[in-house]
Subunit: 834 residues, 2 copies
């Protein structure tokens, strides 16, 4: 009996459908031209599967579906090796039995695959084999990828082995269907406290993950709801596990450490209490009866208000081990998050340092964790900031399993509204040599357990895909999930390799598209850093709020510890051993030496590690303050360039994705200006040092709304002041208000830019008139994460091609709605070239 | 105060939107490259309107909207001629007052426009002028069309005058929202017995019509509901008139001749009764009070069961005049349809001839019609068949106004499911010289009133657009409305000019798209004729039923008179004077002489005018019967070619329209095979003469469902027999049935074609398996006009790239639904080239 997948395949191949982004990089768009002729001439007609069970059956279904899309042909699904050419899927054991004459006995590591062409009695067999069925599936995806990328597949002998056994994603989905830090819609897993009735999206997510070699997925928020472990929820978890299982993706769950007390009714959750240990064991046994291949638990303890062992004066090792021992008999893993810090630190104490926390909490426990416990360590010591050094904890655990936690969801990277290609940043960390031992010890080798020969290790990516048709709310953000999976399989891939693969698979092979998208993606991290927090400042976002808009002072004077210590004289956290928090001393000596000294500390990390005056001169000869100014202008210009470059792809990218990406990039271009102006204004005001190039504080053609003639609009201070130009906006408390000015410039063609505030509450409407003529109308209907006047709501409307004459009245009318006051920041009038 | 249109313009230009076909040829897609640079450099910034009222205001709004789309610039709307370059809109009178120094006094006929560049004090004025405001609007549309087509507009001196004053569309919309012979969705005018609450679509239709110069629209079915004239409906008519008025489109209504009795409560509707005359007058007065610019009435009387003057033994002139006299004081016109015939004729009488009817009914009344009465004459003597001679009535009315009625909606042309470019056919009639007088008297000149110097005349097109987003249910069918409007303005345009204009405006200028679409459109009428009824046979459709599928005998043995008289010996209607119905004698002698003789009768009209044996040899040397065979194979091949050619436009046409047109052409390709096989089988069976090329009756690779192994399926005769291959189908009365065979051919790649029946009732599901493997799945969900097994429901599923091996079981499973029995006709197995 053939699986439903083959049927789905048939439908997908048979009817043309609009490109929505749903299929991501697994579109299997028809190949054309000479390549098509060649592939069709050499493609066998049979795909043989030696084991009629998933994931091998899923692999066969995918091969049939993929080749139908790519070549227009439906392969024959057979169970035996035919006397004609065929693709043959099977483990090494299965092949040894079915075709001993092929001598394919060479061992392969778990999950690794081997694509091998065998000629036998004149037939050509394309063998896709592995030690285990999941590896066979990975081989099938690899083969499809090769064909889609135009690589030859008629004479193969290629082995590929994953770099590490743990290649997981985490989903921070809540049982009510919301997702913490999710920007692609509601949960694909949960709805109203239970697993969704229709888990088609989960299965399709499993397919995407499988195509990359991802083999585990935790399915609920690390800030875990204890109810997840209730007996009534186990069938729900089992259903989700069943949806992912065909794709070789094992399910894990995040648990609350207080569960024995909250859920189990014990009077303690002390990890050394025998009753607590028994409770965890009984709960694990119950889960494994329903889900025998459960991958394990994820545990966030003693962090950001979560219960942990500290209440009983126990160690993290005590906590991890009591849970790990419950899982061990079943082969389950316990992921213990290293993201533990005090978020009520006294900011007045210059020796306090959140960056020290992970190392301080865990390095002393090295060797005390059970062999199935894994410390899950964020890439940097703070929290997914735009630039952080690699966490020193990677080098500090020699006798403890670890994985590196990377964030695919763009919590601090503009969420769904900005394009930032994160693999480039991840690569910087993964390839960074911590000098933890004699030879080269890059972070990837430490995290994978290679350096200290740990039994396990690898990669955990916080993905947080949602029900949006394109999974992330941003088409270009799909490249981050793709890049995560590819790096987890092979962290030696370059960023360029990844982005070129992804672009070709996702947008389909036109050289201009490939080149343009690659350029945008590869530049996007540096660009984002340039306008949000260069030189190691970290993202200057609203860290106590939505983690989206700009708020330079939100980092300071609170216990959260993301301090940058900017004051009127200088900026940066002194983390030196000599005069600072001593954080640098947590690194192995080679690294610590380089960073302790201003002379050898890289500029990109300067303000993360040192406090310097604004006039400090960087290696490139610029002062810190001028670099801050320049980089923000560069960043904003770069994003404007992205939108412009994307426009050159009109007609080369399918219509809907073209339009949606363009809208995203144009929004981002406006938002980069908001960041630019806020950050540069703040530093100019604070430092008292002018921009040598005269840009900051001087905006030719800009007219503040508060300085315009106002009919109904009222002036209001915006907090923080730098979030609005001039620190003020105008708001409308009536049914309709307007702001106007009389144009005094020369006659000509102009672009008008209206900066307004688009809050999440309400849909205000705006109109713009010139000399009485309605020129434009729009509504403030974006779903931005704020309900106030701030940089997160600050949004730009650009109106090109407006003819102005001296004396023209330019009037902006606003109609508030639902608590959103149709607010305005400013109008810019910019002359156009012909 | 500026109109809403300018605002709509702003929005349309400002945001990218998916191409749905809604904007048809008024897309104003951005022009690019050197042309853009040139237009922007020469485009003035001001558009001046000398009269702030519609339709001039609509023209200004359209210019602003269009130029914003084309060039990205928003022109300044001003009320006076500025001292800078400007586009100036105004009538000749208005310009004479505002700019007497320009001396633009030359008179222009009604609705004609003049585009004239005037240089004055160094400024360049692009003057768009006319005698009347509507003409100014036509000039604005013409100017936008020129820019969109890439023609220069910086040095203009171009006058254009419509060929005829009457350029109307008719809508056959019922008050309940259905449309008689409408294939583009429900009515844009009516819903539940009243005008729709939202008439946006009506206004947008008005804009489309105005862009072509169409100036009138009748808004209800010619088979008129008397209730339309009830007092309660007048506000509804007025609302519709108000929606069309800005676009210079005047509203007319179709009326029931029995209204004085049915609605007015009189005991008669005798046109010579004084009370009846008074009733019509009072009703007209009442209407004109609400709609002072009402264009008039359309009247279908004594036709297909409609009430008429014959019951009182009055003439059509009596009937027309009593209504015309009520309209005359208001300047209204009465359109009296010439489509009057007896549909209960005795088919056994060889002298009976429906084609004679219009002439017989009206030519004797010439001179008796009032000057505001117009006889509306269908292009041919029958009823919008694929090939008819021009109606002889055009030449027979010298002292009576006439218009030619053309059918834009594709009643007999495959409805929304086939692409047929009708202007090519219309041109054949319009340009046909009837030799009605000494000099050249083409139909267009007669219809326009030019030949006999009538006060009015022109064109009426039955459009029947509906609520479908693309108006017609078929993107390519929009060209028929475009072509109608353009020909009504200028019937001297060639088909190629029209299709090239339309394609460029509608699909946007890529040379490959332009060439491909033009080739498809220009060939499509001949192609459709080839597979539905060549040599003047008329469309061999189900004329007593849905007018869609094939039914060769439906024309015969009934009173409807569309007889082709095919029997075992020969085919064709003998309409000669010598031996036939004498119809040819209705034509002026030059034409009659040519057609009376077989030697000079054109082949295309042969069977319309003569009865000949099947072995009769055509001018090209083929026998009639072989021509019938050949043309049907040629037609079916041509449509397959259209689908193939369209596929080469992938990526050059926006995605949704590309996909929808491809689906339409692929369906049509299958349907052309149904026609081909039905017609050729019928003639082979009837004539007993084999196809010299051996195709008819021999279908290599075809396996009849009734000859397959059947699990649950039952064999059923199809009526008429030629509607199914072999005359039989299989139907499923169980929950699921299947039909299968064992493949006995050589191993290889094959295309499978499943011929099944997709009725309008129910959505059956089908699956196809090869050797147990699900290869394809589809559902019968098209909305075709039938609920039985016949040629209208016969539909094809094509599955490419199937690998077959000897002994394979090929099984088709069907699941009936809602009365649709998941029926099958046959399976074809066709080897593929590599």
């Amino acid at each position: 009996m053939l699986s439903k997948l083959i049927l789905a395949a048939a439908l997908a191949g048979a009817c043309l459908h609009a490109e929505t982004g749903y299929d991501a990089w697994l579109r299997y768009q028809s190949i054309e031209g000479a390549l098509r002729v060649h592939v069709r001439a050499t493609l066998p007609a049979v795909v043989t599967m030696l084991n009629d069970a998933d994931p091998e059956a899923a692999a066969r279904g995918e091969l049939i579906r993929g080749l139908r899309g790519l070549t227009g042909r439906t392969l024959r699904a057979e169970g035996r090796i035919p006397r004609e050419s065929a693709i043959v899927l099977g483990t090494l054991d299965e092949l040894g039995r079915a075709a001993p004459q092929w001598n394919l006995g060479a061992p392969l590591p778990e999950d690794g695959y081997w694509l091998k062409t065998v000629i036998d009695h004149g037939a050509r067999y394309t063998v896709v084999t592995a030690s285990n069925p999941r590896g066979v599936m990975y081989g099938a995806f690899a083969m499809l990828r090769k064909i889609a990328l135009g690589e030859p597949v008629d004479s193969l002998d290629e082995r590929s082995t994953p770099y590490a056994p743990i290649r997981w994603v985490n989903q921070w989905d809540n049982l009510d269907g919301s997702i913490e830090r999710g920007y692609g819609g509601r949960s694909i897993f949960w709805e109203n406290g239970h697993a969704r009735a229709d888990l088609t999206r989960v299965a399709d997510y499993g397919r995407l993950l499988a195509s990359l070699g991802v083999n585990g997925c935790s399915i609920n928020n690390v800030n875990a709801n204890p109810r997840l472990l209730a007996a009534e929820m186990i069938p729900d978890i089992a259903r989700i596990a069943a949806a992912l299982r065909p794709w070789g993706v094992r399910v894990a769950v995040a648990v609350d450490f207080a569960s024995p007390k909250i859920l189990g009714g014990l009077d303690t959750f002390d990890p050394l209490d025998a009753g607590v240990a028994a409770w965890w064991k009984q709960k694990a046994d119950e889960l494994y009866r329903a889900i025998p291949d459960l991958a394990g638990f994820v545990l966030k303890a003693d962090s950001e208000g979560r219960a942990g062992p500290s209440i009983y004066h126990r160690t993290h090792a005590d906590a991890a081990n009591v849970v790990a021992r419950a899982l061990a008999p079943h082969g389950g893993l316990l992921f213990y998050r290293g993201f533990v810090y005090d978020h009520h630190m006294d900011w007045r104490n210059p020796k306090n340092d959140r960056a020290r926390a992970a190392y301080d909490n865990f390095h002393g426990l090295d060797g005390q964790f059970d062999s199935n416990a894994v410390i899950q360590i964020k890439n940097g010591p703070i929290d997914f900031q735009v630039r952080e050094p690699a966490s020193p904890l990677f080098a500090a655990l020699e006798k403890t399993n670890q994985v590196i936690e990377l964030q695919i969801t763009q919590e601090y990277f503009g969420q769904a509204h900005h394009t930032v290609f994160l693999p480039r940043m991840w690569k910087a960390t993964l390839d960074f040599d911590l000098h933890a031992g004699g030879a080269s010890t890059p972070v990837k080798a430490l995290a994978a357990g290679k350096t200290f020969h740990r039994p396990t290790g690898g990669f955990a990516g916080v993905a947080n895909v949602g029900l949006d048709e394109n999974w992330f709310g941003n088409h270009l953000s799909q490249a981050n999930l793709y890049g995560f999976g590819r790096l987890a399989w092979d962290p030696d891939l370059t960023s360029r390799q990844i982005v070129e693969e992804w672009t070709r698979l996702t947008f389909g092979g036109d050289p201009k598209v490939d080149g343009t998208v690659a350029a945008i993606q590869l530049g996007s991290w540096r660009t984002y850093e340039n306008y949000t927090g260069p030189l190691g400042l970290q993202g200057l976002t609203d860290i106590t709020g939505n983690h989206y808009g700009v708020n330079v002072e939100a980092s300071e004077r609170n216990g959260w510890g993301q301090w940058h210590r900017a004051d009127e004289k200088g900026v940066g956290m002194d983390r030196t051993v000599a005069t600072g928090t001593g954080y640098i001393g947590q690194y192995p000596p080679t690294v610590a030496r380089a960073w302790e000294s201003l002379a050898t500390c890289p500029d990109d990390l300067l303000l993360f590690l040192h406090h310097v005056p604004y006039t400090y001169v960087l290696h490139d000869g610029k002062t810190v303050i001028q670099y801050l100014y320049d980089s923000h202008y560069e960043g904003a210009e770069a994003v404007a360039g992205y939108a412009h470059q994307w426009k050159t792809l009109a007609g080369l990218v399918d219509e809907r994705r073209y339009r949606e990406v363009l809208a995203q990039l144009e929004y981002q271009a406006g938002q980069a200006v908001v960041w630019r102006d806020a950050v540069t204004e703040w530093f100019r005001r604070t430092s008292g040092i002018a921009d040598a190039r005269g840009r900051v504080g001087s905006y030719p053609g800009r007219f503040e709304a508060e300085a315009m003639h106002l009919d109904g609009y009222q002036v209001r201070d915006v907090v923080p002041a730098e979030d609005a130009s001039g620190g003020k906006a105008v708001v409308c408390a009536a049914a309709e208000c307007s702001a106007w000015l009389q144009f005094a410039g020369a006659a000509g063609w102009y672009t008008l830019r209206v900066q307004y505030f688009d809050q999440r509450n309400g849909i205000s409407r705006y109109r713009l008139r010139v000399a009485g003529q309605w020129i434009d109308e729009w509504q403030a209907d974006l779903l931005l994460p704020t309900v106030t006047l701030d940089s997160s709501s600050s949004t730009r409307r650009v109106i090109h091609g407006v003819a102005l004459r001296p004396g023209d009245e330019i009037r902006i009318e606003g109609r508030p709605d639902g608590g959103e006051p149709a607010a305005l920041d400013y109008l810019e009038i910019v002359p156009e070239n012909q």
